[in-house]
Symmetry: C2
Subunit: 271 residues, 2 copies
């Protein structure tokens, strides 16, 4: 831990707190004190003191046994994030309608840096299992919602996506810049994005943009279903209808402001 | 601001960060720099520096204009809270079923200190408008979910609730300790809680407990509908069924641990 101590010389307390919180993730929802010290590189004594202060506040909770986990106070603050909490509250009734009409998975995502961040998911009971979970991230170039968000993002976002490389998740993933540019132009022209087994085999997606009052695309709504002998285009009107309804409801809601433009992976967790 | 500066002498940086985040709430989702300095009592220069660090991390975001708001990174961390995110993910399909069967409001709440904290709400389109919002808090003694949570809480929670006083929201609110104790005994005996215009006029609630593997009540599930000529007891089997299904799904989910026992208002936001 001495090395960790040295490494943190001169770093601000806030950056230590942030590194402590950032240690938690979907695969590490509960961490012991020694896990936390190891992941952050902080001395155990510092880790213990900071964690204790966060527990007192409610941002962390003690789990059964000796572990720590994210606490209710952080969850509660998170519900106040306009780009997730408010958006989701406004969009959910229309997502429910879309679910009732299709009985398939319904997803709502925003762009954060060069990834799609899922702010709400309704899982269709009999539908295909997807890799998207609420609070989860998936790449922009390989998902329906991602292509909608990328098609309407500033040009530097596309550059950052191309710089990061178009990872090929399946044989159907778009993996060349030219192909991606043409696909995004189609999305802008038609107002709809399709993804056909591009993220994982066996699932198809139809996505449409959700726009704020100034016409800025702030989110994407999608239906994701099992692949098979189905004309995906038949789902498009339902998805577009729900996305337009959600957009209108969002625009009618006073005080809702669209996302600040953030680009590039470097700005996602820069600390 | 000089007074604020003096007031914060000797306080830890983490407590300043926490006070900055705590300034945000349902009625103050967006705050200017001067709002933040005024609410926290911190000097403007300190407020600016801390806010800038939080923006760089993603815990706060700059809004259009000059304001700050809760950022996506805090929302994302919040989804990892087992008592909200995991619970809600597991319970949502059964809440949807309950909504489809009743077409009324469906609420899921946990206890935090001496309040009910709403972790998920489905709003029935034609149903009564309620005062519960996701991330919102309501008193334990005046709501259906609250009575379920209070009935199964450690005795010191009831003492803390009584010490805080049984505020009378409507003429039907339970406002004497004896009446409340009898009502809670009924809830434990029958496995169901009713609230009849006890929080706000015009709405009725039927609530049932959600239990973890060890039989500990970790949440309450409720249907809230418009009052009128309706036998509320007819809704009870549907609510209990959904709550039992959610409990079973929760118990089947490995690694899910119930809430640490927290009691008394003093521990809610003690910093």
């Amino acid at each position: 831990m001495a090395g960790g101590s040295t490494q943190w010389q001169g770093r601000s307390v806030i950056s230590k707190v942030v590194s402590l919180l950032d240690a938690f993730g979907p695969s590490t929802p509960e961490l012991s004190l020694s896990d936390l010290a190891r992941i952050t590189g902080l001395p155990v004594s510092t880790t213990y003191r900071l964690a204790a202060e966060l527990v007192e506040w409610g941002g962390l909770e003690r789990a059964d046994g000796a572990g720590y986990r994210i606490g209710m106070r952080l969850w509660e603050l998170g519900t106040l994030a306009p780009r997730a909490g408010t958006l989701r509250t406004v969009a959910l009734p229309f997502m429910q309608d879309l679910y009732e009409a299709t009985r398939e998975n319904v997803h709502l995502a925003v762009r954060d840096g060069i990834e799609a961040l899922y702010v709400e998911t309704i899982a269709g009971r009999g539908s295909v299992r997807t890799r998207s979970r609420r609070g989860g991230r998936l790449p922009l170039h390989a998902t329906g919602v991602g292509k909608v968000l990328l098609a309407h993002a500033p040009p530097d976002v596309l550059h950052a996506v191309l710089d990061a490389g178009l990872h090929r998740y399946t044989p159907h993933t778009i993996s060349t810049p030219g192909h991606l540019r043409r696909a995004l132009a189609d999305v802008r022209r038609t107002g709809i994005a399709y993804a056909r087994e591009e993220m994982s085999g066996g699932s198809l997606s139809v996505a449409a943009p959700v726009t704020a009052a100034d016409g800025v695309v702030v989110a994407a709504l999608a239906v994701v279903r099992r692949s098979g002998r189905v004309d995906l285009r038949r789902l498009a009107p339902a998805v577009r209808t729900a996305a337009l309804s959600a957009s209108r409801a969002l625009q009618e809601r006073a005080g809702w402001a669209p996302a600040p433009s953030r680009t590039g992976e470097a700005t996602i967790h820069s600390h």
